[in-house]
Symmetry: C2
Subunit: 455 residues, 2 copies
Amino acid sequence: MNQFQEDTIVALATPNGIGAIGVIRLSGPEAIQIINAVFKGKDLSKQATHTLHFGTIKDGANIVDEVLVSLFIAPQSYTKENVVEISCHGSSYIIDNIIKLLIKQGARLAKPGEFTLRAFLNGGLDLSQAEAVADLIASNSKASHQLAMQQMRGGFSNELKILREQLIHFASMIELELDFSEEDVEFANRDDLRRLISNLQSIISNLIRSFDLGNVIKNGVPVVIAGKPNVGKSTLLNALLNEERAIVSEIAGTTRDTVEDEITIKGVRFRFIDTAGIRETQDIIEAKGVERTFEKIKSSAIVLYLFDPSETQEEELSKIIQDLKAVTEENNSTLLVVSNKSDIHPLATENTGVLEISAKEKLNLEKLEQALLAAVNLNQLNSDEVIISNIRHLEALKKTDEALNRVLYGIDNPITSDFLALDIKQALHYLGEIVGTVTTDDLLDNIFSKFCIGK
Amino acid sequence: MNQFQEDTIVALATPNGIGAIGVIRLSGPEAIQIINAVFKGKDLSKQATHTLHFGTIKDGANIVDEVLVSLFIAPQSYTKENVVEISCHGSSYIIDNIIKLLIKQGARLAKPGEFTLRAFLNGGLDLSQAEAVADLIASNSKASHQLAMQQMRGGFSNELKILREQLIHFASMIELELDFSEEDVEFANRDDLRRLISNLQSIISNLIRSFDLGNVIKNGVPVVIAGKPNVGKSTLLNALLNEERAIVSEIAGTTRDTVEDEITIKGVRFRFIDTAGIRETQDIIEAKGVERTFEKIKSSAIVLYLFDPSETQEEELSKIIQDLKAVTEENNSTLLVVSNKSDIHPLATENTGVLEISAKEKLNLEKLEQALLAAVNLNQLNSDEVIISNIRHLEALKKTDEALNRVLYGIDNPITSDFLALDIKQALHYLGEIVGTVTTDDLLDNIFSKFCIGK
């Protein structure tokens, strides 16, 4: 697997569309020969790495474009191969024609993610770092960006590397015991091994637990917004959304899509999910239509229950809150009870745990935002602790944990060293899957096909 | 006007959207200091021009991205100023944040076309070349690309330069005469001047005449497709369009829009304009609704009249053809009379001038394409002759021509040298407007505001 690729790939690396410039990327052993065959200017085969050269691309006698060529000579490049980047005018016609010309000279159109795949295969990145490249490109909030950046720069990989090295040490000790199996010696101290494994398992369980946070940061924190009709749910959403829009300074040419019902608060993205339920009936558990609401509530990290104090009886309210509390507690999610229209109808008593706002008058919205943020464990995000956000990593960590449980069982029970060695190897295998020391073609296809072309 | 700008501008140079990479461009005296303040890696102020540097962009302690920085040190750059290009991951979030960071360090967001404006102001391009940059980016066919490329590389400017130099020579001779006006000498030989001017005017009138071709190449050749309803107009359009789609090889990631009713034949773009007219009435000139059809016909380069031989009486046909001939001849456009459904109804007689096709069976479509191409003067395009395509240039050339007429009149009539000098200067003024030796802020605003940001 870890061999250099024989062919040279080409793709547009910048977004499709009209712009000032477009960048076409070539990678592979023939990259420099291929560009040299169509480039009029200096002889590119004689230039140093990390240099830029102005010239023209010619198709026979016709000038296709005036371009700037960047040279990266192996192994000093992203893919560790020879890489050429051609910066041309941003016209689809020109880009098409340059790519066709390079293909005619022997390059092949790259598949999605193939440049990063090569970077991985050639040892420039491990697999979890390669996956982070795609996350980084897709990142749309400060928190998701921070997560991807940490992973791309190897924070997660380093943590795993230390674990693996310790485990490999024990595996080799136990292998050694197998060689001396007649003599019944113990090179690997069982107490030390038990300590190491419990240490490993505590780190792994921290990582596994971090997935909930990592996942919501990557995909947005799901917030179910529940309440009777006309209680002001959409007014509240719009008020929060407008506040965000006012903060986002627009840089011409880089307008970011603000997705309806997605709101970024202090760098964390929240996805608001409206529900139809909790309205017509007071006995919410029995009502048929409300079942689906509870399905949504179960898949959310926060439940925001909005009510109008003028139209809600105290008894009814406490019943609903009680029911929602039960669901959210079982579900390990956060319940926020919010009284709307507080400008007209302030609550009679200081009802602890109820947040009074006015969506219309934009009163106390900041308190609500703080409550939403508080529901996400941001301390963990802001510390240097590693957070995982990839379900593939979660699965591999769970399998590692199971294998380690078998090792522990093996230590405490009359099992021969060879079985112990097998379970340790299994744990190493799953850890290896994360960083890509163990891979299959299917796995790689699955990961890299989700990349954009040109990356 | 020809002074270096004092501030440093920044913009995204690649199209907006998600891609593998985005390129942010900085230009101005502080470009290198500004990037250096946020770049962790080598000290960029100590690096050579045309070199590439890997490092990170940091906002305080936070890493915004891992980037590649290209350095172009004045005057060896597009704008002739210090230019820095930052190649980062193609995420809007990252691009926004890097641009904000650079603005915080003292850069200013660039206006549309401002980089090319600076290239012009600093003498890197003349004005007609700068205009060609925008044409090049917008070019979507081989012919329009060729035209823009020729203009950007100075073909047109060189032609004008020679004209201007000769005229300047005479202007200075005549100025000299003014200094010796008491003595009534003639430094500028009037016959030579007359010859030069007639030479100039012949070149100018060639350029003026080339505008029709240049304009249709740039904007597409307008073809009015006329005929009775149900004669197969849309079948014909679709047949031509499908042939084009089959030829255009799709390069993933660079899909070009195929605009409805626009068809590229051998690199020339044709715009097909359907008409409702020439149907209900046989007396086409009198019919009210047909008037608009004739308006369209007048603004087209080619009129394609399609008829069904089984439903058209010979007499009626020859009347229509006669009318259309009159209009197209007056209009200096080309008439193509095409008989559809030739597979079922071949014409009885070898009617010269009528092309028999079958849109449905795709018979003789290639002959039709050849006829369309023949109607465009491609010989002129394929020779090295300069073709103009910009209406601003056309107007300036016409005004130059008028001024030269006044010079000629002045030579042949008792007019003092100072008036002659004035008219020559006027001609020089208009020629100067084209290449930008004479400009106003309004003119520049008008030209560069049509550019995209980042160019």
